[in-house]
Subunit: 354 residues, 2 copies
Amino acid sequence: MASLAAELGVSRTTVSNAYNRPDQLSPELRRRVLETARRLGYPGPDPVARSLRTRKAGAVGLLLTENLSYAFRDPAAIGVLEGLALACEGAGVGLHLVPASPGRDDVAAVHRAGVDGFVVYSVPDDDPHLAAVLARPVPTVVIDQPRVEGVDRVGPDDAAAITELADHLVGLGHRKVGVLCMRLARDRNDGFVPVERQQNAHFHVQRTRLEALAKAFARVGVDWAEVPVVERFDHTVDDGASAARQLLDSYPQVTALICTSDILALGALAEAERRGLRVPADLTVTGFDGIAEAERAGLTTVHQPVLEKGRAAGKLLLASADHGAPRVITLNTELRIRNTSAPPRTMEEHWFGP
Amino acid sequence: MASLAAELGVSRTTVSNAYNRPDQLSPELRRRVLETARRLGYPGPDPVARSLRTRKAGAVGLLLTENLSYAFRDPAAIGVLEGLALACEGAGVGLHLVPASPGRDDVAAVHRAGVDGFVVYSVPDDDPHLAAVLARPVPTVVIDQPRVEGVDRVGPDDAAAITELADHLVGLGHRKVGVLCMRLARDRNDGFVPVERQQNAHFHVQRTRLEALAKAFARVGVDWAEVPVVERFDHTVDDGASAARQLLDSYPQVTALICTSDILALGALAEAERRGLRVPADLTVTGFDGIAEAERAGLTTVHQPVLEKGRAAGKLLLASADHGAPRVITLNTELRIRNTSAPPRTMEEHWFGP
DNA sequence: ATGAAAGCGCTAACAT
DNA sequence: ATGTTAGCGCTTTCAT
């Protein structure tokens, strides 16, 4: 830029103005500046230098707990991403996906990200990347989890939502239930979950849902310590199927499988079919999220507005006027009763048919 | 940072080293620096200033022709994104989604993006955002389109791929065909496409496919000027259905509908069902891409490795050693003949049954 | 309407 | 092992 100014015999200020404040220049001069720039191969102001000077990066960072590519496998995550992208697009700011693998604790990527703020989507409360984000002097919005003191948050009321679902099942008469849940902590534990691990789960959403389920079933006399809960570290339909298999192999008397995501529930449905169990006659299966595939499958589930979740987070972040109190946006959820939930078969029905 | 150094009675270099080159410091001093930093609330080196100094942003930009959120609706685009994210993650660099709406010609977002390079995915050759990207002094890789002189590119051999498909249809005996294609230029034209518009299409991929189809059918005596081609600006299953409706309303004698994407083909399938046309007995339908939904639907299509496409582009960009000749990666495609293509019914069959 | 001066926060040579 | 010096390229008062 210096050489350009020299060549033109003007100051650098003038060149800068030619790009950033056309009204501060005679149109004629501006034209000359731009043309000379082209001739000399000057590509326009360097965005990084500009960011340093203006203290604005023009981008927001997104931190996920998972491999970046995970976000593109899970329909619910895609919905959140889409909503967030929408909000960013509306404001003309970029969306910077931070490369944070769950395995390696390499937090450097968070430090390196030139962004004006972060959206953190569904990470465990002890995630080192999260700590790194919070240490940065930029605003942050958390989607779903964890709850962090003083930090904005967007998410559903998980306890209320799943309580409604539990009450539905209780009302149908289910007492022998099993649960399929997602990862509860950063360490892999593909299998049954002792109550202690449930209570200490670092993924707040899962912990809340399990707690709410325990409470709802306790009200009708079910001892939660007796309820089998199977955890899966990875989140695919196949994992849901294998979890269902593991649970039903040991607890064939279960009449309802409560899954903390639609993905897992879809897998449970597949496993039920494999075993020749009719849903919902022989087995009730429920999900959580309300993704399109679940609707197609007729799954009874709790629907949450994932796109809205992403968008709300983006808007919150971009509207970060130095607020005093942290803001919390609670999204509406809706129990959608479809074709995978029904009363359990009684013993009579079991032996003599309905 | 200056005040931190002052407080500690050391130079700024030492503070910098504490963060960036632990080996240049006594562990003891380093510990003291980091602790004092915490106490003083110094959040660590500013990423933007560091980028300015090191000339490395630690991120690659992604430019899409569409609303950012479009990328999250199209399974093929998601695949590309995932592959690209994978490559970025592997290298520890961020993925910066550039907010470039197709409508507004606001190129500023491209100028503002602090990135070390760009991946451009499927944009028209006259896209102003593309021009802005190429003007930046950073390496660029194009996925699919357009072809730009001297710029790296990753994509399938569209002509060869669709020629194979055309030959399949020709072999089955189809001569009365119709085509459903995606957007051919930046202006909206939802309807039939005159040959001239086909030849002047700014989306190179679509143009290539149409040209190859024309050539393949010309070889068996079909006059391409007589072949109906319907274009859709938006790319949804519903658009595919409405395009099929528009085409079949005017050309009911068509025996095969060639769609330039699986999404459009899925819509065509829906429309065929709506009209009571059996596929493939009454109507052959083909797609392009090989997305999961297409496989489920049993669609005859051309499969291309979308994830690999994104990953290859990312690797190419990240390995941008000042190469002499531009590099081109051609991906393998594969004709997948499934249940939506069959010989056309003859007139006899039509009147008297098979 | 244009220019001069100052500095955003950092790191990389090159000393010592 | 630590300090000195010199910018990276830009924008922004404030003057003229």
